[in-house]
């Protein structure tokens, strides 16, 4: 069949510009990093399983919680969302690839190299240990000598390049490569949330880029951006970090909202209830996300006016979020529910996300927040929204779309076992943290004394985390099993409504032989929608962009330069810059199709 026209071998993956293959590479890398971050979490939990435990040192503990946060945010969840964007967006909008296929490959490679760069710190003198938020002046050369924080600064800059490049690409793709008839208000909700996430990425990352450059200047050139002795303000870092960091939270959750808005209608056999409300709530969440950053800083003393304004803004966000939740429930209401694994995870998502959302509203109020800040209550809150929310939703998406990627179904029984194990152990791990936080257990501390009332809850949490780890193995087993002997998925195993399900699984490398015409939302559920037949054999096979080695080489340049900065070797930095210059020209003068 025409499915296998890529050619094989490692080289074909290294030079591929095909969005589906890039999506698969994002997926595999993100899952590996997810396990690395998970392992770090397990070590943290083992250490906290009993009071005054000496399993790991305070120093290693600091590295572990810093790298756990950094890895999960930048190397696991964001790239996992990216895997979905890459694989699905062109399929959902009826396009043959993204607008800039080579830029897409570049985004992947610099993400992978950046992730490896960051993690290589474990081998060379220790990983970053100043928290994923890197608060000044903990990151100053005075309190963080050595190169650990430099690893973090440079690694995050590399990952920022990847995110911005990829977001620019998806904005252009969604604006410019929609099939005829696919107006903005006919786009699948996942495409919409991808568009919004991409805008958040291009607008949020510059703030942290600036903060990181300032930090680098402080550490390398002796400037005083964050040095109070010279008039600098450590809070400027917090502002810049959270101007990025809060939209980042929505960067993590909006793709999940998109996945849920696809899964729930499909498995309810009902079109999405209140589509425009879902979309406009997403727009509003994205927009308001830029006006609430200081709610991460209530405890620093910005004053009553600032605190009130940011508190009100934060509470406002509960409205569009609530609108979405009601719409999802209303979609299921009266639907013919098909209780397959994706719907289990989607319902799990709604329940867990509501819990996380409610505790979020609690610390939207500054007086309450002052009691909760820097305690395990906050840890419980954001794991309920990021794990209970995003990760549950991403698993719903995986069970839903992996059959499209591999052509084989996952095992339903194993899927449900995975769900129940994960659901129970997740709550076992994180629910006790609410109580721990209320009782005053501080975050980011490597141990605690016995007799403070923390012992039992910590033990329960640690036991839960081990079970949570085991539930992930069920998923991996399901994945491997499906590759080997999963039953064939066919084009549309779930009778879903969006364009990707009109294609064979896996789709041919050019996706659509003839570009479909879209007559409305849910194209495959419309009268005659099932007749969308992109495999019209009389149509000529489309010419696709040729493979190129330049994107990978270009991605190598900044990594070499970052290594040079780490080693304080100007020569290595220049080599990196030279690689960039050569690759840019090589790329620019290499035609897209040869």
């Amino acid at each position: 069949m025409s499915h296998d026209t890529y050619g094989g071998g490692v080289r074909s993956w290294m030079t591929t510009v095909d969005h589906k293959r890039i999506g698969i590479m994002y997926f595999v890398s993100a899952i590996v990093f997810f396990f690395v971050g998970g392992l770090e979490a397990l070590l943290i939990r083992l250490q906290l399983g009993s009071p005054e435990n000496t399993l790991i040192s305070a120093d290693l503990y600091n590295q572990l919680f810093t790298m756990h946060g950094t890895t999960m945010v930048f190397l696991a969840v964001m790239p996992l969302s990216s895997a979905f964007f890459n694989f699905l967006i062109p399929l959902q909008i009826g396009a043959r690839d993204v607008a800039f296929p080579r830029l897409n490959a570049f985004s992947f490679w610099i993400f992978l190299f950046g992730g490896l760069f960051l993690n290589s710190s474990f081998l060379f003198g220790g990983a970053p240990d100043a928290g994923w938020f890197g608060y000044a002046n903990l990151t100053s050369t005075q309190y963080s000598p050595g190169i650990r924080v430099d690893y973090w600064v440079l690694g995050l800059q590399l990952l920022g390049i990847s995110s911005i490049a990829s977001a620019l690409n998806f904005i252009v793709t969604i604006i410019n490569l929609r099939a005829p008839g696919m107006r903005f208000m006919r786009m699948p909700p996942f495409t919409w949330m991808t568009l919004l996430t991409s805008f958040l990425l291009i607008l949020a990352f510059p703030a942290i880029t600036v903060g990181l450059v300032m930090l680098m200047f402080d550490r390398t050139f002796g400037t005083n951006f964050f040095n109070p002795a010279a008039g600098g303000d450590v809070l400027l870092w917090q502002h810049l970090f959270w101007i990025f960091g809060h939209p980042e939270v929505y960067i993590l959750i909006l793709p999940a909202f998109g996945v849920i808005s696809e899964v729930i209608p499909t498995f309810s056999r009902k079109t999405l209830f209140g589509y425009p409300f879902i979309i406009y709530s997403g727009v509003l969440i994205a927009f308001l996300g830029f006006g609430v950053w200081a709610h991460h800083m209530f405890a620093v003393g910005l004053g009553p006016i600032a605190n009130s304004v940011f508190s009100a803004g934060t509470m406002l966000i509960a409205i569009p979020t609530g609108v979405k939740i009601f719409n999802w429930i209303a979609t299921m209401w009266g639907g013919r529910l098909r209780m397959d694994t994706p719907l289990y995870f989607a319902i799990g998502f709604i329940a867990m996300f509501i819990i996380g959302g409610l505790s979020g509203i609690m610390h939207a109020s500054p007086p309450t927040d002052l009691q909760q800040t820097d305690t395990y209550f906050i840890v419980a809150h954001f794991h309920y929204v990021l794990f209970g929310g995003t990760v549950f939703a991403l698993f719903a998406g995986m069970y839903y779309w992996i059959p499209k990627v591999t052509g084989r179904l996952l095992h339903e029984g194993l899927g449900k076992l995975h769900f129940w194990l994960m659901f129970v152990s997740f709550n076992l791990t994180f629910f006790p943290m609410h109580f721990l936080g209320m009782n005053g257990m501080p975050r980011r501390t490597f141990t605690y004394l016995p007799g403070l009332g923390f012992d039992l809850m910590n033990l329960v949490s640690t036991a839960g985390s081990l079970l949570l780890g085991a539930s992930m193995l069920v998923f991996v087993w399901n994945l491997v099993r499906s590759f080997r002997r999963g039953s064939p998925a066919g084009r549309n195993p779930w009778n879903a409504a969006t364009l990707e399900w009109s294609l064979p699984s896996p789709p041919p490398h050019y996706n659509f032989r003839t570009i479909p015409e879209v007559g409305g939302r849910d194209p495959l559920w419309r009268p005659g929608g099932a007749e969308v037949d992109p495999e019209d054999p009389t149509a000529p096979e489309p010419v696709m962009p040729s493979p190129s080695g330049w994107p990978m080489l270009l991605a190598l340049g900044p990594v070499i330069a970052a290594t040079g900065a780490l080693l304080s070797s100007l020569l290595v930095v220049f080599v990196g810059v030279a690689v960039v210059v050569v690759s840019v020209y090589g790329w620019a003068f290499q035609p897209l199709e040869r």
Partner: protein, 196 residues
């Protein structure tokens, strides 16, 4: 939109070329980059604990001249684009070169200004003014540098005869970037120099 080219990649939903949507989206991102830098500059205004202070050093007449040069480079840029679009090779060579040269004069002015500041004791790490000033104007200067290299590459293509009305789009994209860098300077000129 009825007829479909074989290669849909070159056909766009909005009728606007991909690269043009890309550069505008990128400019949006750059707004936040310079926005964050300006926010940092303003947050630290008047907070330096040692001199020299901005009012001691900023040379308004000098910077007015380089500002004028950068404004005129934008004029040269639109004239270059217009010449390329009309297939006027001589015009496009002259105006592309003029834009790049004016950009280089601006950079030269920045070099003179920076060395003067350093000479007067305002090294990068001297105080908060030096740090925020050099970071903000330096980032802008880096953008001008990239723009000059971009323009010279286009000039090279034109000299080899590889640039014509069919490729005007890539000149237009470079031009949008160039004008944006100019627009940023319009803001910086006011924020840093005139509202000192």
């Amino acid at each position: 939109m009825e007829h479909e080219a074989v290669m849909e990649m070159h056909h766009t939903t909005t009728g606007i070329p991909h690269r043009k949507v890309l550069i505008w989206t990128f400019i949006g991102s750059e707004c936040m980059l310079f926005g964050s830098l300006i926010a940092g500059y303003l947050a630290y205004r008047g907070r330096s604990v040692v001199g020299p202070y901005p009012e001691d050093l900023l040379n308004i007449p000098f910077i007015t001249v380089t500002t004028f040069v950068l404004l005129m480079s934008s004029l040269a840029m639109v004239l270059a684009l217009s010449a390329v679009q009309r297939g006027n090779r001589r015009g496009s060579i002259i105006w592309l070169a003029a834009t790049a040269v004016l950009g280089m004069i601006f950079l030269g002015g920045q070099y003179i200004e920076f060395s003067h500041f350093v000479h007067e004791g305002l090294g990068l790490s001297r105080n908060l003014f030096s740090a925020t000033f050099f970071l903000l104007t330096g980032t802008h200067g880096a953008h001008v540098t990239v723009g000059v290299i971009w323009l010279l590459s286009l000039l090279g293509m034109e000299l080899k005869g590889n640039l014509g009305p069919g490729k005007a789009e890539i000149v237009e994209v470079a031009g949008l970037y160039w004008h944006f860098v100019d627009v940023v300077w319009i803001v910086l000129f006011t924020v840093i120099y005139l509202l000192v």
